[in-house]
Structures are given as C-alpha cells and as structure tokens.
C-alpha cells in the first residue's frame, strides 16, 4: 500500500472567464518511508494537488488516498494519517503557542499530549516561547509553530508546502534536521520547494508539474544522470558575444552555459577569448537539479520515466 496515491486527478475551475484546468490527469504513488519532492514553477498546480490531498480542495475527477484511505469517502482516517504544513503563514491570534498545539491535538482526538508537545517545542527551538501569544512571534517562529501543529497528532505522512520560503538559515537547518529524524523513524515526507538544492539533497524521488501536468517522475539520481550536459560557470561584467548570450543563463554577474562535451567547452572558451570577455571564478561541473528542472520546464527533455 502506497503512503499517498494520486490516480488521474483532474481539477477544473469554472469562472467568469471560462474554465481553467489546474490539474490534468495527474497520477503517481508515494511509497511508505519515501522522501518525495514535488517541483514546478508557480501556478503549475503543486498547491492545488496538496490541497486536494488535505481535503481543502476537491478534485473534479480522479482518486486520492492516504495510507489506503480515500480522502473523500474515508476522510477521518485519511486526515489522521496526514500532517500538513501550509504555505501561508497563518496563526490564531487569540492563543499562546502551547494552547494552539493542545487545541490542534484535540481536533484529532489526541488529548493529554503534553509530553509530545514538549518534545516538539524543544526540537523546534520553541520551548521558551511556549507561553507567548502567537501574535508576539517573529515570522520564523510562527513557521516553526506551523510545523509543530502539523506534527502534533504524529501523522505517518508529512506534507511540507514550501516550508523554507522566506526562512533564515538557522531555522532551515533546524527544520531539516528534525524532518530528517522523522524520516529516519519511518515517516513519509512530501515536500514542495522552490529551493532546488534542498530537493536534490533531500528527496529520493522527484515529480515535476508543469501547467497542471506531470512532466517528470523519477529517482533524483536518475533525473540528474539523465542530463548528460556539462555546465560552464563564471563571472563577468562584460556582455557576451551574440551566440553565447542567446544560450546563457545569466544571474547578475554569474553566467552559466550548458555544453554537450569537453570540445563544446573549449569552443565556448575560445569564443569568449576572441570576444575579449574577461572572466573570473571559472568552474566546470555537472548539471544540477536546477538545470534538469529548467530543461524540462522549457520542454527540452521528454518525460521518459512516466509510466
């Protein structure tokens, strides 16, 4: 039994401006104990898919199960098996951190849960904030409470919807250390993130959504191996010669050029020299997940691993 199953999930919104297909027959399984990454640009349908999983949204057609329980017909068991960290930084301003956690635990029918609540507070560095009102917390602290709220009923499946967006380095480290521990203890983790290096480092398998369709699904290692390209990275303040500029990915002073092989690298360097471009910090490396991601999103790579 998979931890999560999406089967031909379609979501259509009908509005004043016609119909919009947010998800188009998306189907894949996440096995128990897996650390799964769901990637895609803004508007690709990631949050819609997760909302359907959580019961916040309803699929127009298709089936979604959590630990074998249908999220519609068997929602009590499905929701008990799921812990969701929402993307938005939401909180209830009436309560303290401890009250919020006790209340959330109570909703799931788990009372007298203070030992676990204390452990969550300690693991997430919230112990000294336990009796502070939610309003008094910084954004990062509120994010920690959201994580604690999602885990308070000890769900086997944890969903993190862009948990590190706008979060400082320290919290990111604390969070990943804690999630890694939960994963080692057998929890299944579904992560959506914009930080591709996080996905590359953490996720066993990755699914990519583009305009509501699943366009890639494979082990992270296979996705990385699937791209044969080499990356040439350097910094420069000057403009690149025309044909290089057309294929370069430029972020501020950093230029990245994709090359098929060593000979192509040599040709690029020659073109830079001929064009009189001075470069610094030259690196030649393998393509990373970001390159794979861009390649797929630009439609370059076939979604070969999709069954």
């Amino acid at each position: 039994m998979p931890a999560v199953r999406f089967q031909q999930v379609t979501k259509t919104y009908t509005g004043a401006r016609g119909t919009f297909k947010a998800l188009d027959e998306v189907g894949f399984d996440i096995e128990q104990g897996e650390f799964f990454g769901l990637l895609g640009p803004n508007g690709a349908g990631k949050t819609t898919l997760i909302s359907i999983l959580a019961g916040l949204n309803r699929a127009s057609s298709g089936l979604v199960t959590v630990m074998g329980h249908d999220v519609r017909s068997d929602y009590v068991a499905a929701r008990k098996a799921l812990g969701i960290v929402p993307q938005e930084l939401v909180f209830d301003p009436f309560f303290t951190v401890r009250e919020a956690l006790r209340i959330q635990s109570g909703y799931f029918g788990v009372r007298h849960n203070d030992a676990w609540i204390d452990e969550l507070l300690s693991e997430l560095g919230l112990t000294d904030k336990a009796d502070a009102n939610m309003r008094q917390l910084s954004g990062g602290m509120k994010r920690r409470v959201l994580v604690a709220q999602a885990l308070v009923h000890r769900p086997p499946v944890i969903v993190l919807d862009e948990p590190t967006a706008g979060v400082d380095v320290e919290l990111r480290q604390t969070l990943w250390a804690f999630i890694a521990r939960l994963h080692r203890e057998g929890h299944t983790v579904l992560l959506t993130t914009h930080y591709l290096e996080e996905a590359e480092a953490l996720c066993h398998r990755i699914g990519m959504l583009k305009q509501g369709k699943l366009v890639a699904l494979d082990r992270t290692a296979n996705l990385l191996a699937g791209t044969t390209s080499t990356m040439l990275r350097f910094k420069t303040d000057q403009a690149l010669p025309g044909d290089l500029a057309a294929q370069a990915r430029i972020t501020g002073r950093i230029v990245q050029l994709k090359a098929r092989d060593a000979q192509a690298v040599e040709q690029m360097l020659a073109a830079l020299r001929t064009g009189g471009v001075t470069i610094e910090d030259l690196e030649i490396g393998r393509a990373d997940l970001e390159d794979v991601f861009l390649e797929i999103m630009q439609g370059g790579q076939a979604a070969k691993a999709i069954p």
Binding site: Y13, A54, G55, L56, N57, R58, Y75, V76, A77, R79, K80, L82, I84, P86, E88, V90, F91, D92, P93, F94, F95, E99, I103, Q104, S105, G106, Y107, F108, G109, V110, R111, Q149
Partner: protein, 253 residues
C-alpha cells in the same frame, strides 16, 4: 475520538470569546443598560403594557433576550469570518472533525456567550426593578433555544460572508430589524392591525414573547405556540447550517 474533537473545538470557541470578555460580554451588558436607563426613564410613568407591570419591569426581559440573541449570533459569525479572513480556518479544515462536531461546537459556544451576556444584563438590571419569575422553566427554554437558533444563523452568515462588510450587512439588515421589531420595547398588541400581523411572521417575536411569559405569566400569544414556532425555526436553520457544512459551502472548493 470524535467527541474529544468536538469538545476541543467547543472549548476553543468559548476560550476565544472569554479571552476578550471585556469586549464580548461587558460591552453588550453596558449597551443594554443604556437602553434601560434611557427608555426606562422616559417611558416608566407613561406606558403600561401588562396590567400591574411597570414599563421598566416589562422592558428588562426583552433587553435580556435581545442581548442573548445578538451575542449568540455575533459569536459564531465573527469567529468564522475572522478565521476565514486570517486563514487560520485551515487548522480546522485539515482536521478530521465531522460537520456535526463543527455544528455542535460553534452553536454550543454561541449559546454559552449568549447566556453569559444575558445573565450579565439581568444581574445589572435587578437594581432597576425587582425581578419576578412566574414560570422560570420557560425563561430557560426560550433563552437556550433562542441562543441556539441565532448561533446557527451566525454559522450560516459566517460561512456565507467573504468580507466583514457582508457580515455587517447581514447583521444590520436582517438581525437588527428582526430583533427591534419583535416586541422588545413594546407589546405588539399596541401596534395597528397590519403591523401586528407582520410581527406574527417574525420568529424573533415568539422568542421574546415566550421568554417574557416566564417572567410575568402573561404574553401576547400562548408560550406553547411560541415554543412550536421557535422550535421549528431552530430546526430549519440548523438543517440549513448542517447542509452547508456537509457540502463544504465556501469552505472546500
């Protein structure tokens, strides 16, 4: 398990208004006392509604019930709209709580708030006129049933409204006129014939009339008729509220 979930939501809803009780309990008590001071003072020697009952004594039960109803409505409706607008309703939406648990908790907490405010108004107004309890059971029945009906109506309004001004419109154009035109400040028998008949179409009239019957043993209509009308209205409003919760109206797209 589900009972524990509903209990928690009920507890949370009560704790929510209790934490700001100055605003949710003390303020409406003060408002009711203002009405009593002004109307009671101006009309005490000029109006007699029931034989042998002074105007201030007549007014007190109406004001108590009006406070019960308005605050019961305010509790469920404002809690829901705040949670919707700030986004923290997501904590409830991801929980396994059933529609019954939502209904019982929101309406139950509304009844508690309504009764707290009603009791507050009553305790303060005791100084203005000695209370009488001719048939106290009617007092309790109508207070609880009226609060539950308005709590359910607040649940519907809170689910329907997407913005604070929509909720305010519901409150100002439906709840306020229906309470003011229900006979809080007068007996509907003092109205011209047509308006008497219109008043008899207003379920709020029966809540106030039945509630007042408990204090004086006299009323415009029989308390049994009032009980039937209020009971039926409560069932209809509850059925609508539960239906909206089951279908996830404006909650789950």
């Amino acid at each position: 398990m589900m009972l524990a979930g509903a209990k928690t939501l009920f507890y949370k809803e009560v704790l929510r208004f209790w934490k700001v009780s100055f605003q949710t309990v003390a303020a409406p008590v003060l408002t009711a006392v203002m009405y009593l001071l002004i109307f009671g003072h101006v009309l005490q020697d000029r109006v007699q509604v029931f034989p042998g009952v002074g105007y201030t004594s007549f007014l007190i039960p109406g004001l108590v019930m009006m406070s019960v109803l308005q605050n019961a409505f305010a509790n469920s409706s404002s809690s829901l709209i705040q949670s919707k607008i700030t986004g923290n309703l997501v904590f409830l939406l991801v929980s396994p709580l059933s529609h019954w648990a939502w209904y019982v908790a929101y309406v139950g907490a509304s009844v508690v708030r309504g009764l707290c405010v009603g009791l507050g108004v009553f305790i303060v107004t005791v100084w203005f006129a000695p209370p009488s309890f001719v048939q106290p059971l009617w007092i309790l029945v109508f207070a609880a049933l009226g609060a539950a009906m308005l709590g359910s109506l607040g649940l519907i309004a809170g689910l329907w409204a997407e913005k604070f001004d929509q909720l305010a419109a519901f409150q100002n154009f439906i709840i306020m006129p229906m309470t003011f035109l229900s006979g809080v400040f007068y007996s509907v028998k003092s109205l011209p014939g047509v308006w008497q008949q219109v008043s008899h179409l207003n379920p709020f009239f029966y809540m106030i009339d039945g509630f007042r019957h408990g204090f004086f043993g006299v009323s415009d209509v029989s308390p049994w008729i009032s009980l039937a009308v209020v009971g039926l209205s409560f069932l209809i409003v509850s059925a609508i509220a539960l239906r909206l919760l089951v279908t996830g109206y404006k909650l789950r797209q």
